[in-house]
Symmetry: C2
Subunit: 245 residues, 2 copies
DNA sequence: GTCGTTCGGTTGTCCGGACAAAGCATTGAC
DNA sequence: GTCAATGCTTTGTCCGGACAACCGAACGAC
């Protein structure tokens, strides 16, 4: 069953990355069946003309992704389950698009406002200082799914309403050169206010899923704070998580 | 500012792990302030009498945890923000205990039942086959917080009601030699049924937070399926997540 | 037959070195 | 003064090797 692997040394792509991608593809594609051993590292390295550390680095990255399990004295096995994605920091827009839901956005508000105490605390800016405020309605198949309200420090990027309608906020931020690093989230639930109910075409007092999120870039700066509400009847958070050893 | 670091070569604890723990402690403790450079790897290795790969491994583990950021040509910086925990696979019991809430459990049901279609699909067992069913009420400060319903394949571990009342399910599993690996979760919301409302001392139709989770061990076997409901007025999911590069 | 021992195989840890790539500051040309 | 070229620092990648720890299976003693 000697899997077909090869690396291109003239490519600028790191060797360990080439290998890990090929292995991941083989797993995804079914060439490496769940539970099967991967063959020992030494021999694999020899077969590819790579050193063992390089092969180990490739394997380790897949272990971190949860696709492989290593067992000392046994070998490296393909994990047996339906691992999909370990909860990425993705925007709702991308999520819907990936699910083939054809997302749509209506920008209801796009302006600057003085920061409230809550917003100032989340973004670590001065209370009363100017921040962007964006309110959007997200639809899928023409049906409202969620009402999004975001606050963004001024000067980070320019927020163009047409652009906001055609893509997600995170994608805009990334293309503005911001490196997203981490986020702090709170997910809860409550009943809809009359305004929310109308906006989302739900009955009064319908249960809503709420999410607040503050996102940081790699310098530790808060770059976004959002409070969102989702129609519980049409949306739920769905993700995979790994046990960190 | 030459931070006080040292490793014990006679210890069975890996050197890179000793180092990463000391660095993490230094960050936690404030000895390494956010934004400060860590000093280059070569010099750090020389100072500790370690090789560069070992030092890199230690640093890399903290990068993976989101505490450090590396920049080629610049150095390694302590990230500037309030990173706490990146969403572990922990039980509600542990969460509450860590928050100082003194959790309490009442086992309402602990028996075996034939697997319904839903349960059979989640646990990958035969429909109609025997599975454990556990219903518990989780309280904090004497107040109901959540109603938990779990299904567990038979033969994995014995489920002792007294033990279930004094600790969390995951802790029981781990001490039974099961290595938890990953889980698939869905978080949503809905209105309480009259029975749920009474059990949780909420008004009829109150919004509830719902979570379904299937947990897998490192062989890919499903070891637990649970459907839980939380009082939205008293509980929310709170976590940090990192952007995977 | 049962149990402890030994042994081969595999991953875990660690070393020392080498070159490449990227960022930043300084220098130099215009 | 402005801008491009240069050089230094730092991390990124890769190599080849060595020994330790652990697992499982085969072996042998009782």
């Amino acid at each position: 069953m000697s899997l077909q692997l090869s690396v291109d040394r003239s490519s600028p792509v790191p060797l360990y990355f080439q290998l890990s991608q090929q292995l991941e593809a083989a797993i995804e594609h079914g060439a490496l069946t769940p539970g099967s051993l991967l063959g020992n590292e030494i021999e694999l390295a020899a077969r590819l003309g790579l050193s063992r550390p390089t092969v180990r680095q490739a394997i380790q990255s897949l272990v971190d992704k949860g696709l492989l399990v290593r067992r000392r004295g046994v070998g490296t096995q393909v994990v047996h389950s339906q691992v999909k994605r370990p909860l990425e920091l993705s925007s709702l827009y991308d999520d819907l698009e990936a699910a083939g839901q054809r997302p749509e956005t209506r920008v209801l508000l796009n302006t600057t406002v003085p920061a409230s105490a809550e917003v100032a605390a989340a973004l670590a800016v001065a209370e009363g200082g100017e921040v962007h405020r964006i309110e959007r309605l997200r639809l899928a198949h023409g049906e409202p799914m969620a009402a999004l309200c975001n606050y963004i420090p001024t000067g980070l990027l320019d927020l163009d309403s047409p652009q906001l309608e055609s893509t997600g906020l995170y994608r805009l931020m990334r293309s503005a050169g911001i490196t997203l690093h981490s986020a702090r989230q709170t997910i809860g639930a409550r009943s809809a206010t009359p305004e929310e109910a109308e906006r989302l075409t739900e009955p009064d007092g319908a249960p809503l899923l709420t999410m607040q999120r503050t996102t940081f870039d790699d310098t530790g700066r808060a770059v976004e704070y959002g409070t969102h509400v989702y129609r519980a009847s049409r949306y739920s958070f769905d993700f995979q998580l790994l046990v960190r050893a």
